[in-house]
């Protein structure tokens, strides 16, 4: 085949290309913890990096609230499924923090098949003055011991220790796309393409299947699960989205197997916009409950939508992320970009929503003022502590200075993963292998 011939040619051009990125460094998920003090990122190489926010100090005001590396560890390793002769990628698909219950922090990280519970602890003191051991830990010569002393705790350099506490394996035949911790802090769910399982955080050898959309005959398969999340307050409710653009709200009190939804949220298709790509672009790539629990935010290929849990017929708000791509859908289908899964995020007060796009652009929509802004996350266009300049994509016609035309957008620079601090206006943007953290200046308004 033609492809084989191409593979035989060795491509050295990447060595000259200074923007070549080691694939293992590509960030695949970003998540703040519940206080916003910690920010975790996962990458394609199976590593997790945790950043911690520096406490604000009056002495050095310019470093207030900066995030620095707190801990790095290897969460998942590549595996090989001998039965199917296929590799299992170590890429971290999702990280979710558990609510903090003691001095330690805990998080769940997952790849395609296995979920792991990690405990992050600090050690900043160590005991000194043992009676039987000396400073280096060697046993003392007992004849030299003349008196007893009580060991005292002395401060030491901060050491962050991360240990795997639970490994939840063999629960999924298909690739895990989401995990979500329940508000009861005891259970969590994991969803793959066709099934959703409920786990207890302390039990690794069992899980309950709560959704199963696998057809009896795989040839009848036309719809898969794309994302799922527990309701932030009601521990019995969860939502899952599908590749056909529908959302299903399920109540675990209704039955053990929640195949029958309690509510189905679906917007009828606009017949004037119908094309062969209609279904693909309606596939929901991410769903997030608002902090209030009253709304849901969904992202499909061209829009973000806000849904009211009380209205199933259509979303209450729809925002166009990059409608200029509508005429390019065939090219985007050809180069597979149409299958990119963008995430979306709420701000702490549920008044602003954010999502990523191409060319390292990300978009924010203010639900109250109905204003939106496009910003860029790249080294070239922003220096540290400089204010981000709004960007604009022009679609022919009038072109202002600094506008980017649709045809010069870089589709390899996609911002799929974004996160918003739970309380403050701090956002984390993953641009391929770089993490950008932007903060709102104290006195400026969000526009």
């Amino acid at each position: 085949m033609g492809e084989d011939a191409d593979a035989r040619k060795i491509n050295h051009s990447f060595l000259r290309d200074h923007s070549y990125v080691t694939e293992a460094d590509i960030i695949s998920t970003v998540e703040f913890n519940h206080t916003g003090e910690l920010l975790a990122t996962g990458d394609k190489g199976g590593r997790v990096v945790i950043f911690q926010r520096e406490p604000e100090s009056k002495n050095e005001p310019h470093t207030q609230g900066e995030y620095n590396v707190y801990s790095t560890f290897q969460s998942h390793e590549p595996e090989f499924d001998y039965l199917k002769s296929l590799e299992i990628e170590e890429k971290i698909n999702k990280i979710k923090w558990l609510p903090q219950q003691n001095a330690a922090h805990s998080l769940l990280s997952t790849n395609d098949k296995t979920i792991k519970l990690w405990k992050v602890t600090e050690r900043d003191k160590r005991p000194e003055g043992y009676n039987l051991k000396d400073e280096e830990g060697k046993l003392k010569d007992l004849s030299t011991v003349t008196s007893l002393q009580v060991p005292v705790l002395k401060p030491m350099d901060l050491m962050v220790e991360v240990s795997p506490r639970r490994i939840f394996a063999n629960g999924h035949t298909y690739h895990i796309n989401s995990i979500s911790v329940n508000s009861d802090c005891e259970t969590y769910m994991s969803a793959d393409d066709l099934r959703i399982n409920l786990w207890h955080l302390a039990i690794t050898d069992r899980s309950f299947n709560i959704v199963d959309i696998k057809p009896a005959n795989m040839e009848d398969l036309t719809e898969v699960i794309t994302a799922s999340e527990f309701h932030p307050h009601h521990c019995n409710l969860f939502v899952y989205s599908s590749s056909k653009g529908s959302l299903r709200l399920c109540d675990m009190r209704a039955s053990a197997l929640c195949d029958k939804h309690s509510k189905l949220f679906e917007e009828p298709e606009d017949p004037s916009n119908r094309s062969f790509f209609s279904e693909i672009i309606s596939s929901v790539s991410d769903v997030k409950f608002s902090h209030s629990g009253r709304f849901m935010l969904t992202r499909d290929y061209l829009t973000v939508k806000v849904w009211d849990l009380n209205m199933e017929t259509k979303p209450i708000e729809t925002y166009q992320v990059h409608d200029y791509l509508r005429s390019k859908l065939c090219s985007l289908y050809e180069n597979d970009c149409i299958f990119d899964k963008f995430e979306c995020a709420w701000n702490g007060s549920d008044s602003v929503i954010m999502t990523g796009a191409y060319n390292n652009f990300f978009r924010m929509f203010d639900r109250n003022t109905k204003r939106d802004v496009t910003l860029e996350a790249s080294r070239e266009s922003s220096k540290p502590r400089a204010i981000l300049k709004p960007r604009r994509v022009c679609v022919g016609g009038k072109r202002r200075k600094d506008d980017i035309s649709v045809d010069s957008l870089d589709f390899t620079k996609k911002i799929l993963h974004t996160a918003w601090h739970p309380a403050e206006n701090i956002i984390a943007i993953a641009a391929t292998n770089n993490l950008y953290i932007f903060q709102d200046k104290v006195n400026s308004e969000m526009h």
Partner: protein, 250 residues
């Protein structure tokens, strides 16, 4: 993107590209575009990265797109004209029998490919507000092909093969996910003959006219018109063989 290989036409002095593209909104171009999309989708379904398990969501979305095109082509009559050309007989049974003829005796006895056929017939049943049998029985009085040129025959004949290939490709994709025992797949195709016409080259040739000239493709197809159903199944089986090769990494 679709305009590859299509000669620019001059419309009353309009020579800019936008003017010529506007002229392409006529029906024959739409058929070509749709066919091109269908072929692109089939190639995508086959060229999954088999080292890691293929992305199921992507495969399902592509498969749905192919089904959609197939349905539209069925409603257009583009899909069925080939049946009219083959024989006068028009019923669902006709499709059954030709399909079965394409399989080797061993596979027929094992009945393993039958489920894939029933899946196919379900697709037909899903076509909204259409009585399939009555539709097929009127195929003899179907409207004349919109494109009376010879390449229309090739286009529809290719659709016939694509349909069979598509269904089998789909089944293969989904069944590999199911399949816990790779040996059964090998058993299924252990007696398949390798020496058949490589459909992949044709498809990739259509995508970018570099591998095979347009004319070459037409010629190879026209040489098969005499043994029509046979050639269809030969390509089908070779299609499966190719996929199996990827699966077992031979």
């Amino acid at each position: 993107m679709f305009a590859r290989g299509i000669k620019r036409k001059c419309f009353d002095g309009e020579e800019d590209i936008e003017g010529t593209l506007a002229g392409f909104k006529s029906v024959p171009s739409y058929n070509l575009q749709r066919q091109s999309l269908l072929d692109m989708s089939l190639v995508k379904l086959q060229l999954c990265h088999m080292l890691v398990e293929p992305n199921l969501c992507r495969s399902v979305l592509i498969a749905n797109t192919v089904r959609q095109i197939q349905e539209e082509m069925t409603q257009d009559g583009t899909w069925q004209v080939i049946n009219a050309q083959n024989t006068g007989q028009a019923s669902l049974d006709r499709l059954v029998s030709s399909d079965i003829l394409c399989r080797s005796t061993k596979e027929q006895n094992e009945g393993k490919l039958v489920p894939s056929y029933s899946g196919f017939s379900k697709d037909f049943e899903n076509t909204p507000s259409q009585d399939i049998i009555s539709d097929l029985s009127t195929v003899t009085s179907v409207q004349a092909p919109r494109n009376p040129q010879s390449n229309n025959v090739w286009e529809m004949e290719n659709s016939q093969e694509n349909r069979g290939n598509f269904q089998k490709s789909l089944d293969q994709i989904f069944e590999t996910l199911e399949n816990k025992n790779p040996n059964s797949v090998e058993d299924l195709f252990s007696d398949v003959d390798n020496s058949y016409y490589d459909l992949d080259t044709v498809l990739t040739g259509m995508m970018n006219n570099t591998k095979m000239g347009h004319c070459d493709v037409l010629e190879s197809f026209s040489s098969q018109t005499t043994t029509n159903s046979n050639s269809n199944c030969k390509s089908d089986i070779n299609e499966l063989d190719h996929i199996v090769e990827i699966l077992v990494e031979s």
